[in-house]
Amino acid sequence: MSIKKNIELQTIISGLLVSFMTITLLSVLLGLDYTDKNLGSSLIDINEDLTRSANVVTSVVTYFRGLDTLGEVTILFLSIFGIGLGIENSPHMKNILSYDNTLLKLGAKVLFPLIVLFGFYIIIHGHLSPGGGFQGGVIVASGFLLMLLAYGEAFHLNHKIITVFESLSGAGFVLIGILGVILGDIFLSNMLPLGVVGQLFSSGIMPIIYIFVGLKVAAEITVLVEYFLRTEDVG
């Protein structure tokens, strides 16, 4: 059979599209100019005086746009809530993902504390190094995902503790904001002492907010993954 017969029209069209996109992206890439002065550079200029954090992204997420982060966390909570309503939470786990594998169980037991520790490191050092609440929370949740995949039904998640963590961190975020109204001037204002750039206890409320966000995200993604793994076999 010749090669020509196997090539469909769809393949040719998508190949042309891919090459067109490649050429466009390359031309955009070669003409990129990284030196424009915009909102970003002005934020970088005022960052050190206002927040004393080493990571500008963190100060944007938790200070300059703190209210947006609150809305984002609420949207995440609502979407997980909707998934929990939509997926029936059956008590049995699908057996196809959890082989009875001794090596995997041992490795997961060794790796799980390391992954959770790394996630909390990322959360706590959000204002000093890259990362923060969302990233660290997702890393913690991936540690729980590893344990769920390795152990299957034998790994019990305590839903009461997860719910307590999730609600307390959400309430704590709002409480920090209201304290900002009382002690400072506006919602989520930075009322704590700022400290020195580069130290762990510095830049006011930003690490506290990121710890709350990290706990909330970790709890929510863990529950999401567990919902997916625990659903009944449809087919």
Binding site: S14, G15, V18, L25, L29, P130, L145, L224, G235
Partner: protein, 81 residues
Amino acid sequence: MIGLIVLGAFVSLIIVAYLVVMERDLASSVILFMAFGLGSTILYFVFSAPDVALTEAVIGAGISGVVFLVSLLQTQTKESR
């Protein structure tokens, strides 16, 4: 040097995206999608956005792949023509 890395990442991303769309076996498609997440992680890191790169490394190459695979296992693994 950075430009070379960016070019390689862009070209491989486009190729992997093409393969993701054209793959018939949906399980292989999900694995390729995780590879797409890995490539975009490199791209974010080179464009000096390590925060986004961390998120993409965990979500794109880890959790979303598992969620997709579990959903596939509960439905069907072959795409109907």
